[in-house]
């Protein structure tokens, strides 16, 4: 069941009603049953059983870890490795398939290897990470294992978030998930507004951008300015699609009084790539920092490497080399998680590793250059330049993620070096799948998005709080205008099936 379908809206409405008419103590049972139903409707019995089995396994192992302090390390490994193995078996196996095929086609080795087809269980890369974090938190003594298996099933399978995140921690959400939050009109109203804003981003913007992106990426005859338009449109599509999805998820959850962590923080205002990744898919970044980067940097083998390098190359070099190895492993994991193929490993992972580490290594040189050129880094023009540079680097890298493979991505950029800027103004853009009306709806919608982002940037309270301070008539005009925009300009309906969320596939 897509979260932008009428079926989901009805499902959400009925669940909300049942939730609030149920005594507070049993509200979590309503969400649990709704999540089970959502899972069953969306992907059938087998994936539901795989999910439930994994969650119960994690719950059981966490209890054993809590009871056996001296065998904690072995039990933790015994809990995590099978979960990761199941994830790789179902989801990331394309990495092994692609590479063994490559080997087979070129060398004849593994010629007898066959590849079984399998259906990927819904949300497996999300719920696996949640369960791994739960087991590790218990193992590290951060939380006590819960005795109630339903709480873990609910934590990992909470229906609004289970397909695309955000990644939560058991300790952060357990109280609210268990329905201990009281009914609050503000939650309901803010949640509905956020939900609607997410629909606007997805149905009005992302779906239109997707048409342009598909036209550019699907036509190898297009060159020059078209390539830049396609790449920029893809970044905007990725942002409106994923952040729209998060708005829908977080908004739906807020209506239940369950606060989920933010996954975006106006990323395009970032002045560096490392800042960008602290503002884009935040919960994945924090998850990888806590459960991959830190354990790697604190591991015995990497500390030995650090000590070895420090002895021979100096203390700073020892520290830097160990840090870069840790970052390499983390960025590889990010790329691998995104799809298990080299185009993702390179474009969503290793590219950023090279850029960030390159930036760190060249930083002293940059600082000297800035001083020599007497650049005022506090000036708005420098901030603008830094933001543009970040945007360009991000666009360049993720543009490969949309291409069929790495080679296809390189071929596309080779076609970009053709001088035809007039296509931007001579009406040629209307041939990319959107007519003039749809095209200008998209441009106007992007302008609204920009204004809202600008209002959101740097504020603690957020735009909805600012809106709540206005008079009731103005508030309702804004709300109804947004509703009407989604209803009139949203790309949905009987003969139109909105594409799945891009991050749902990861």
């Amino acid at each position: 069941m897509s979260i932008v379908s009428f079926a989901f809206f009805a499902f959400l409405g009925v669940t909300l009603l049942a939730y609030y008419i149920t005594p507070q103590k049993f509200r979590y049972v309503v969400v649990l049953l709704a999540s089970a139903l959502f899972f069953l409707i969306s992907c059938g019995v087998i994936p539901t059983l795989i999910f439930t089995g994994t969650a119960v396994f994690a719950w059981l192992m966490a209890i054993m870890i809590g009871k056996n302090g001296n065998r904690k390390a072995i039990l933790t490994a015994a809990a995590i490795l099978p979960m990761i193995a199941v994830l790789i078996f179902f989801k990331e196996n394309s990495f092994f398939i692609d590479n063994t095929r490559w080997l087979r086609d070129r060398t004849g080795i593994l010629s007898d290897l066959t590849y079984p087809t399998r259906t990927i269980p819904l949300g497996i890369s999300y719920y696996t990470f949640l369960l791994v974090s739960y087991v590790l938190d218990v193992s590290w003594g951060k939380i006590e294992p819960t005795k109630n298996p339903f709480k873990i099933v609910l934590f990992a399978g909470y229906f609004p978030q289970m397909t695309s995140g955000p990644f939560t921690r058991f300790a952060d959400v357990k109280n609210e998930l268990l329905g201990r939050g009281k009914f609050n009109y503000e939650n309901l109203s803010f949640g509905a507004q956020r939900f609607l804003w997410g629909l606007f981003k997805k149905l009005v913007l992302a779906e239109r951008l997707a048409v342009i992106v598909a036209s550019v990426y699907g036509n190898t005859k297009l060159e020059g300015a078209y390539i830049f338009i396609g790449a920029v449109s893809y970044v905007l599509q990725l942002y409106t699609d994923f952040s729209g999805c998060m708005d829908i998820v977080i908004g739906a959850s807020q209506m239940f009084g369950i606060k989920l962590p933010e996954n975006f923080k106006t990323p395009f205002y970032s002045t560096s790539l490392s800042e960008f990744w602290r503002r884009w898919h935040i919960t994945l970044g924090v998850w990888l920092k806590d459960y991959v980067l830190y354990p790697t940097l604190k591991s015995r083998w990497l500390q030995s490497v650090r000590a070895f390098c420090a002895k021979r190359l100096g203390k700073k070099a020892g520290k830097d080399i160990a840090t870069y190895i840790g970052m390499l492993i983390t960025w590889f994991s990010i790329g691998f998680w995104h799809g298990g193929s080299w185009k993702y490993i390179c474009s969503s992972g290793l590219f950023f590793f090279v850029m960030i580490v390159g930036g760190l290594l060249l930083e002293p040189g940059f600082k000297r250059l800035i001083k020599w050129l007497r650049i005022n880094t506090g000036a708005w023009s420098w901030t603008l330049f830094s933001r543009m540079r970040t945007w360009i680097l991000f666009t360049l890298s993720v543009s490969f993620g949309r291409a069929a493979d790495l080679t296809d991505g390189f071929r596309m950029w080779r076609r970009a070096f053709k001088y035809n800027p007039w296509v931007m103004v001579d009406g040629s853009l209307y041939n990319l799948g959107l007519d003039a009306k749809d095209f200008w709806v998209m441009i106007f919608g992007l302008l609204i998005l920009f204004i809202i982002s600008k209002m959101q940037y740097g504020t603690v309270e957020g735009v909805r709080y600012k809106l709540s301070q206005q008079n009731i008539i103005f508030r309702w005009i804004v709300f109804l205008a947004l509703f009407a925009a989604v209803l009139i300009f949203g790309m949905y309906g009987e003969h139109y099936d909105p594409a799945d969320f891009i991050y749902g596939q990861f």
Binding site: L136, D137, W140, G141, K142, K289, D290, L293, Y294, P295, L297, K298, Q303, R306, K319, T323, G326, M327
Partner: protein, 81 residues
């Protein structure tokens, strides 16, 4: 070692890791108070404290540490002072 002496030693580690002799830490000092204290320097700081005080922070402590005061409490309990 008294708490004041632990703070003095911790301060020294901070100055060394962040290469800044003007740093003065206290109970409430957090990553927001020191410009270069980001997620990467956090782990470098932890490793430097481990070396200085001869004990290992658990992963739970590393990811859950909120301020310098918490680190000093852990050092007072388990560190080789």
């Amino acid at each position: 070692m008294t708490k004041e002496q632990v703070y003095a030693a911790v301060n020294e580690v901070f100055r060394d890791v962040f290469d800044d002799d003007s740093i003065e830490v206290n109970d409430a000092t957090t990553a927001d108070d020191i410009e270069d204290w980001d997620s990467l320097e956090h782990i470098n700081l932890i490793l430097a404290l481990e070396v200085r005080f001869g004990f290992k922070f658990t992963m739970g402590e590393v990811t859950g540490m909120k301020n310098v005061g918490e680190a000093v409490d852990m050092i007072m309990q388990r560190g080789q002072l």
